[in-house]
């Protein structure tokens, strides 16, 4: 009973996301990009005329591309839809006047964002593995477990970025303003390592490639743990900050 309202609104948020054209468009893009990349690689293999074996790298190449660019952008737009967009369309109050506390309403929206990340990562992995198998045949199979682990751990930085987008969304009443600031923050954070390399170590946006620490020999357990704590800290701060704002906001 205690969790009924949380589950009810989580299902509602998932359904609302699913019926929107944009969500289906992004998911289609997520499926098409690895397929298109694999086709381009196949052409490259054929024209090179020698034993290039790029197929096995498709999942990791795609994960790098999606965690650096596409998924953060999709997440920003989804966070805006879930909070600023709904507040602007005055539909947020449809749920606020139902028997659900604001804390649970907020949590259910964040859980919907988490499910969104998981679905996209799974879609990219499945398409890129299928593309890799077509290009490289059985050679791909030996790398399956490694790539699955990389995709699983890639969830953490994407979730942290999603929560930062949620935090920014709380400050705005216009979707365009919220999205504009999110893109500015993201672009500035991506440029930070070139300007202030020391500060960039502490930026969550510098760790979107956290999954590379888990591939092959990867990095030491200490380095993985260190980055993990950075991601968890950002996630907790963004969650608590957003929740505080959401709880106090008049609708």
């Amino acid at each position: 009973m205690l969790m009924h309202s949380l589950k009810a609104n989580w299902l509602n948020e998932m359904e609302k996301l699913w019926v929107q054209r944009r969500t289906k468009g992004f998911l289609l893009l997520t499926l098409l990009i690895p397929a298109a990349a694999a086709a381009a690689m196949a052409l490259l293999q054929r024209s090179a005329g020698f034993g290039l074996e790029l197929g096995g790298d498709v999942p990791m190449l795609m994960l790098g591309l999606f965690t650096t660019l596409f998924l953060p952008l999709f997440l920003m737009m989804t966070a805006v839809d879930l909070f600023t967009g709904e507040a602007a369309a005055r539909t947020l109050k449809l749920a606020l006047v139902r028997p659900i506390t604001r804390a649970k309403l907020f949590a259910s929206k964040v859980l919907a964002l988490a499910a969104y990340i998981a679905v996209h990562l799974a879609a990219v992995w499945l398409t890129s593995v299928a593309a890799g198998l077509l290009l490289n045949g059985p050679g791909m199979l030996g790398r399956l477990a490694g790539s699955a682990l990389a995709y699983a751990v890639a969830f953490a930085p994407m979730f942290a970025i999603g929560l930062i987008a949620v935090l920014i969304a709380q400050r705005f009443t216009s979707s365009a303003g919220a999205l504009g600031l999110m893109i500015f923050v993201f672009a500035a954070a991506k440029l930070l390592p070139y300007v202030l390399p020391e500060a960039a170590v502490w930026s969550v946006f510098s760790h979107t490639d956290w999954h590379t620490l888990w591939v092959g020999d990867g990095a030491s357990a200490g380095k993985r743990l260190n980055t993990f704590f950075i991601l968890v800290s950002y996630s907790m701060m963004a969650y608590m900050g957003s929740l505080m704002m959401f709880e106090r906001k008049p609708f």
Partner: protein, 247 residues
């Protein structure tokens, strides 16, 4: 036998940056009451309704719904309440049926047929598969009312429920409210500018002006022979204005 107290607002106050809001409002509602909330634009009617439903937090005061404090036991307090606040909004990219399906998820035990029944009650059954984005204001108002009535609430809070409705729609809504209050003892609190129409519906009313509840009466005890509620309302507003001017 004393009727169950469904709503109790005590000394509620909320002040916005523009200086408007409500000041020390208290009111009580029991089962079967149909309470009309009247007042000029900006008097604080919507603010009071938002405060009751948790859309805004009070600076001071308390709200109890069915004896449960809304501030600390919100889910329990709101589980027997249905409302339409400020405007009749809906998820425009979803059908009327799907809008109600989303609302139904919050209430365990709502039978599948109840959604169709709610749409039937407000006259939207023929349009149940149409997206709400294509609805007229009146149809959105009916859909919002269906969403409010869907869980079988015991207190219904309506903010300008006849906005955008045609005459037939207004009469339909008035009859629905009368029937639900009489047959099921549902309590209503309704803010409206259609004071003539409301006179046929309410048994109690309050007049808000400048954020203060200046009068709160039982209709049958109050109006002298031959006086309409509209005349009474205008006299009260005028006398408050004069009192404020002298103060």
């Amino acid at each position: 036998m004393e009727r169950e107290r469904v709503l109790e607002v005590k000394d509620a106050a909320k002040r916005f940056r523009n200086g408007r809001g409500i000041k020390g409002v208290s009111l009580e509602l029991s089962r079967g009451d149909v309470y009309g909330l009247f007042g000029p634009n900006g008097a604080g009617k919507t603010t009071l309704l938002k405060l009751i439903t948790g859309l805004i937090r009070p600076d001071r005061g308390t709200v109890h719904l069915f004896g449960k404090p809304a501030a600390t036991r919100f889910e329990e307090a709101m589980s027997r309440v249905g409302c339409v606040i400020e405007s009749a909004d809906a998820y425009e990219f979803m059908s009327a049926y799907d809008n109600l399906k989303l609302a139904a998820r919050f209430y365990p035990g709502i039978a599948a047929g109840r959604i169709d029944q709610a749409l039937e009650e407000v006259g939207l059954a023929p349009y149940k598969k149409e997206k709400a984005g294509g609805f007229s204001l009146g149809m959105k108002q009916r859909l919002a009312l269906a969403a409010a009535l869907l869980p079988g609430p015991e207190l219904v809070i309506l903010d300008e429920p006849t906005n955008g409705l045609d005459i037939e729609g207004m009469v339909d809504i008035r009859r629905t409210i009368e029937r639900l209050a009489r047959e099921q003892g549902i309590a209503f609190i309704i803010s409206s500018h259609m004071i003539g129409d409301m006179e046929k519906l309410v048994n109690r009313f309050g007049i808000l002006q400048g954020g203060e509840l200046i009068r709160q009466e039982r209709l049958q005890d109050l109006l002298p022979e031959g006086t309409t509620l509209e005349q009474y309302y205008m006299a009260q507003i005028q006398s408050k204005k004069e009192a404020d001017a002298y103060a």
